[in-house]
Subunit: 144 residues, 2 copies
Amino acid sequence: MRLSNLADYAVVTMSAAARHCGGGRTSAAELAAETGLPVPTVQKVVSKLSAAGLLRSVRGAGGGLQLARPAAAITLADIVEAVEGPIALTACIDGDECAVDHTCSVKPHWPVVNAALRGALAGIPLTQLSKAAPREPNLTGISA
Amino acid sequence: MRLSNLADYAVVTMSAAARHCGGGRTSAAELAAETGLPVPTVQKVVSKLSAAGLLRSVRGAGGGLQLARPAAAITLADIVEAVEGPIALTACIDGDECAVDHTCSVKPHWPVVNAALRGALAGIPLTQLSKAAPREPNLTGISA
DNA sequence: GCAAATCGGAACGAAATGGTCTGATTTGAC
DNA sequence: GTCAAATCAGACCATTTCGTTCCGATTTGC
């Protein structure tokens, strides 16, 4: 129910990379300095992000990273899926079988929840993450 | 991003317990036989559920379990929270601090996602899980 | 041709989870 | 009143996944 730290780091890293998009290429070390994350951790995150096609990496001296797509075309759902795979709360969706083959009356309901979660993540583009505050009035409104 | 197996088992167990609610008390062994889960696992799940106040357990010979509330008043959100704690995708909500104290522009957006996820889980009561199929037409509609 | 700088993948350690087991408690029967 | 059966409750151990770190492959600039 809680996404992994790597996914969280990936979101922060992409948010930092979005600010450097206009200025051209950046590096993993620079992103680590800005976000405060350890350099090796950022490297691992960058590897997954570039493997998923969200970042374009150029090797060699003078190389660096840059967004593969415009920041407006990248959402939270893309970043989370790049690091953690498909967005699904249960494994019985892609694997098709639970541990037991009982007539699971719960299984049909998971796609509804998954779609809701994915929709919430897909509704926040990367451009919005660069802003200071969201548009919603209640920041602590978990029970809203 | 994927809930733990225990939480999944808890949902299945509660769904099975809801069917026995009318007939009075049931036992962990009986629930294990119906769901196909290992008996000790069901016992562990039952312990967490009763500690959270969702199940009422009676010890001793002839004892057993029963729902503490009507099935209509128990939702997926209650079950998940009973096993996994508060529904939050990131730890920076309750802990208030990320690993680094950078001006995190991503943090303000998480409550929005958390509320959406919690709303999706709270919208499915336990009575609906006992039914064979959901009301939604597309079972595989993850991209809906 | 050499050297510096960068990304990429692999290996190690740690933490959380899942599963199992044994013990404490209570009721029912004799 | 005593014994025995049945049940839940908590503690222990193995496994897996996650997180971190390190080293090698590759490319450009001088």
